[in-house]
Amino acid sequence: MKTMIDAFQKAMDRRGFLSAVIAAAGALAALLLAAPVVGFVLGPIVRREPKDWRAVGAVDDFDKGATVKVALEDAGAASWAGRTGRTAAWLRRSPDGTFTAFALDCTHLGCPVRWNARAELFMCPCHGGVYYADGRVAGGPPPRPLTRYPVRVHNGQVEIKTEPIPIT
């Protein structure tokens, strides 16, 4: 208790007070600077990305039982993103005619999986993850099935909803 009182008295003498004022002024300046800078830098991260349905082709363009890659423009892509603003999905049309859209990203660490049509398997080039045609894990390190994107048929067109990169 005594030491606290001592410390308080010391802080309240002329020089201690001046030091406290200087520190407070410095902290205030830092705070005033930090607010816009941190906000600016975090802007792209907290921003809500627009989502959009993208037409990828007419229903009849896709054979039953086939899986094909469809490219789509990312909804929030800036004009200076160039090709980097594109994205894609594996679109599967099952024998009964329904559509499923899978993310390219392996659920292990995000590398792009490739569809091997003859083997009916998705394979990942990075660490050897393998998936069946319906996205279930067939082997390797992936912890869960391939991520699915929302897909619908609208006015005869197959549409896929642009989604964030699945973080698994």
Binding site: A78, C111, R118, P141, I165
Partner: protein, 465 residues
């Protein structure tokens, strides 16, 4: 000449810099600090090389997601000395990592981190983190297919952080997807933030080297004692110290010439790392691989037991950090000589062996399936039996060949099947093929009638000649 001297005198009178730098340059250092002590300053030389070549490259590099690739192609193929400069920046980075690690090992083996040089060690540990950060962000600025998918892999790893994983992943991507913000953020880190922090920490590191003095080469039976070390060290310098300039620094000058010479030679003879396909997230042809100094981690992520993954990705780097921070506090005094610290030697040997072995595994990347294997040639199939020949085709078409090797063709993920007919019976093969295994898909629902029989005939025919 007289004019020059007059200007020099005037400058000295107005700035007094000579009076500060002169004694600093001539400060005494321990007489035994010879060739094994050059790696710290050699790392600084490599860093300066990176600053100079990096600044030059930045005059042509366009940090825009849509144009970086083309500007880098221009630098590599058309810009005057562009190929050499890119090569120097690449090999300069490698040199910096290698020299830094040798410096770290030297400091650890000589126990130079002990009293009173604990903060030297800590600032060095932070510097190492920053340099690795520079290496990773630099690779991404190549901004080709490999780079953008490496960013995704980085984001996925950041995403494993408990509670704030999504936020961390977005921080890496610069949003929810790859795009315009991704490259510029890494560019800012690589060119402004990380080098600035390195300069700051390096200043502290070097100031501490001057303040605490270069650690003398250790001697068995002469332990560090906190009460007496400083006065003993000062006395030793007074009696035996040699002036840093020029008696010690000439070795650093030799090292500087070697570092710059070797980097230039490699840049000229080997050239910069190739730029891959353009950065297009809608294309799947990508083999994301980190540069050689991160291959060990790439390998670790592939071959460790899958269940341990989350712990290793998050706790692994944390543990390394804790060990680095704790070291000078756990062992602040006592023996420095290697003869009295066999565990230090064992630690270094073990670490080098582990990282070396993982790096080799990363180079071969046997776990990666082969996508473009040709059909097995007749000479390999070596049979007129229709079933065997059909089976060889199934082996190729159903992508068995992506992971299994037969007579030098195919991937290495699964066992080599060149002589599998000697090892497994038909029944054993059937069970394995239909049900799959730990890393193998179950082919029960994939193979069509007849294909299994053909495949079995082919595999049964694979025997020692």
């Amino acid at each position: 000449m007289r004019v020059v001297r007059a200007i020099g005198r005037w400058l000295e009178d107005r700035t007094g810099l000579g009076g500060v730098i002169g004694p600093l340059a001539r400060h005494p250092v321990p007489p035994g600090a010879r060739w094994s002590y050059i790696f710290g300053s050699a790392t600084v030389i490599a860093f300066l090389l990176q600053m100079v070549t990096g600044a030059a490259l930045a005059t042509l590099y366009v940090p825009s997601a849509g144009q970086a690739y083309q500007s880098l192609q221009f630098i590599s193929e058309h810009a005057m000395f562009g190929r050499i400069l890119r090569g120097m920046h690449y090999f300069g980075a490698s040199a910096m990592i290698v020299l830094m690690v040798i410096h770290l090992i030297r400091v650890f083996l000589f126990a130079s981190y002990k009293f009173p040089r604990e903060v030297n060690w800590l600032s060095g540990a932070v510097l190492m983190l920053l340099v690795l950060g520079l290496g990773f962000t630099g690779q991404l600025l190549r901004w080709d297919q490999n780079a953008i998918w490496s960013v995704v892999v980085g984001a996925e790893q950041a995403g494993r952080t408990p509670f704030i994983g999504d936020f961390m992943a977005r921080l890496v991507l610069g949003g929810t997807n790859l795009g315009a913000d991704t490259l510029t953020r890494f560019f800012t880190l690589h060119v402004f933030v990380l080098p600035g922090l390195v300069i700051l920490l390096l200043s502290l590191h070097l100031y501490l080297v001057i303040r605490n003095g270069i650690s003398e080469p250790p001697q068995a039976g002469r332990p560090v004692e906190r009460a007496t070390y400083r006065s003993w060290y000062r006395r030793m310098l007074d009696e035996h110290g040699v002036p840093f300039w020029p008696k010690a620094v000439w070795r650093d000058a030799v090292a500087m010439a070697i570092v710059v010479g070797v980097v230039l030679l490699l840049a000229w003879k080997v050239g910069p790392p190739p730029i891959g396909d353009p950065p297009d997230p809608s294309l799947v042809k990508a083999h994301p691989r980190p540069d050689w100094y991160f291959l060990f981690y790439f390998a670790l992520l592939a071959i460790m037991p899958h269940a341990l993954e989350n712990y290793v990705i998050i706790l692994g780097p944390l543990l390394v950090g804790v060990v680095l921070i704790a070291l000078p506090f756990v062992a602040p005094d006592g023996e420095r000589s290697l003869r009295r610290r066999p565990w230090a030697v064992a630690t270094v040997v073990a670490m080098l062996t582990i990282v070396g072995a993982l790096t080799m595994a990363g180079v071969h990347a046997n776990w990666s399936p082969h996508f473009d294997e040709p059909v097995l040639p007749d000479a390999v199939v070596a049979s007129d039996d229709h079933a065997v020949r059909d089976g060889a085709r199934v082996f190729h078409d159903r992508a068995c060949i992506s992971c299994h090797r037969v007579a030098g063709y195919g991937g290495r993920r699964g066992p080599d099947l060149t002589t599998v007919g000697d090892r497994l019976t038909r029944e054993q093969m059937t069970i394995r093929i239909l049900n799959g295994g730990y890393n193998m898909p179950a082919y029960g629902s994939i193979l069509e009638p007849g294909e299994l029989d053909a495949l079995l005939a082919f595999l049964q025919s694979r025997r020692h000649p």
